[in-house]
Symmetry: C2
Subunit: 293 residues, 2 copies
Amino acid sequence: MPAQTQGYFTEENSADVVVGQIADTTEPRLAKVIEAVTRHLHAAVKEIEPTQEEWLAAIMFLTKTGQMSDDWRQEFILLSDIFGVSMLVDAINNRKPSGASESTVLGPFHVPDVPELPMGSNICLDGKGHPMLIKGRILNTEGQPIEGTKIDVWQTNDDGFYDVQQKGIQPDFNLRGVFRTGADGTYTFWGAKPRFYPIPDDGPVGKLLGSLGRHPYRPAHLHYILEAEGYETLITHIFDPDDEYINSDAVFGVKESLLAKFDLIEVPDRIKEEGAEGPFYEVVHDFVLAPEA
Amino acid sequence: MPAQTQGYFTEENSADVVVGQIADTTEPRLAKVIEAVTRHLHAAVKEIEPTQEEWLAAIMFLTKTGQMSDDWRQEFILLSDIFGVSMLVDAINNRKPSGASESTVLGPFHVPDVPELPMGSNICLDGKGHPMLIKGRILNTEGQPIEGTKIDVWQTNDDGFYDVQQKGIQPDFNLRGVFRTGADGTYTFWGAKPRFYPIPDDGPVGKLLGSLGRHPYRPAHLHYILEAEGYETLITHIFDPDDEYINSDAVFGVKESLLAKFDLIEVPDRIKEEGAEGPFYEVVHDFVLAPEA
């Protein structure tokens, strides 16, 4: 135990006194993290100057956030999401070289071991919504196609729900698929135009959003995980730039470079060429993978 | 809903983007608090640069802290205590003019409606430990005695437990009392020498303390609430300066001015004079109350 060389507690030296109690034998990374947390926490309290009642309200908010969580619901992750912290941690851990596609949050709806499908397959198994053709190329930062990229995609259906949120209502693996690029690095598949949807907002986090005049919606997007040997795995979304919530994603997942173009194709020749039954949306989007560090 | 004038999320502008979503209609104090929390939180994350695994470990720690809490146990208050935040909030809300006695945390063991006793009473009802005579004066900042001060005191017994922690073992109201000063502002009562004791350490907070090489103990102290008309109510402790944990209170409650003197009195004349049966401890401590703002 170190001597409390900072002296006794005062408003001025509060963080020093607390940090001074961390034993020298503490695992260095933990010591560094707790010191930083302590200093920023004390700085925040000194700026805010909470009353005792406000401090107790904060304690009760955090308590309820923990108590709302279980095996199926993680309210503290939601809290991190709506404060932009999940996105910040993602950004810090996924700094990309110039020209490479940017990452965004994984989200809670990824499913492992989705069946691999031939290019051009339709992953929309419930037949709902506007048909959508999604295609593009997987490239390296030199603009060369990457062969053998595993493309894992998932999205909501036209009601704004993922299959796993509606088991027994949506077909299994609805709007999920795994594809693998050939030598030309291209990909193509059919889905349905995704919909905006709310994060769970019936808990303390939803109540806080409401108090801040914020809505719980995420703008429509498609999720991607792109894996290729010799490249950094990319976890990202592409977004519908015309979604009404595109400038106010409840979890701050939108980045400029992740805006795709969702074009409504009504030209009869194109409809015929693609074998569609009528007008459809088309999204053409290339991804650039960073080389493995 | 304000336009997201800060643009889309980047690592650099992350806090601005999040703060930019707070609606103009938000209650001003809440808006200010959430803005400050957001900015300090993002600054902390940028300094720490947590890995995804570390971030998830923090989420799980907070979740368990909430889930450990119930009507009897408040693990988030313990967390606030061991980070010195409870003391900091106390300090901010109890800035005293020069010469006035300082405050410290209330703690969870105060009991309302304790019977008022005549000066000189013995509040040690279980007969355990070293007898202790506590006396002093309640003064204003001009050094004048304050008549009619209500003195509410409580302390652990010789085993380091408050009566409410050992219902059925300790007598009701053991080592608690309310006294009222006369014209001379003096107080005097008998208790027992208090003992150091641990904060509850069988939860996530105790585990964190252990990881930091910190112990869970609070040095021996007596609690006081002093109330007098025309003066600010003072919630404080006085501490035994010879306690082995005096320089490392787990909740940082010790302030320089709260160190009392615990003298062992063995002189036969004094023992006889005070009507004691043998050697006893004596604590003489004056309190100075600040005028009401």
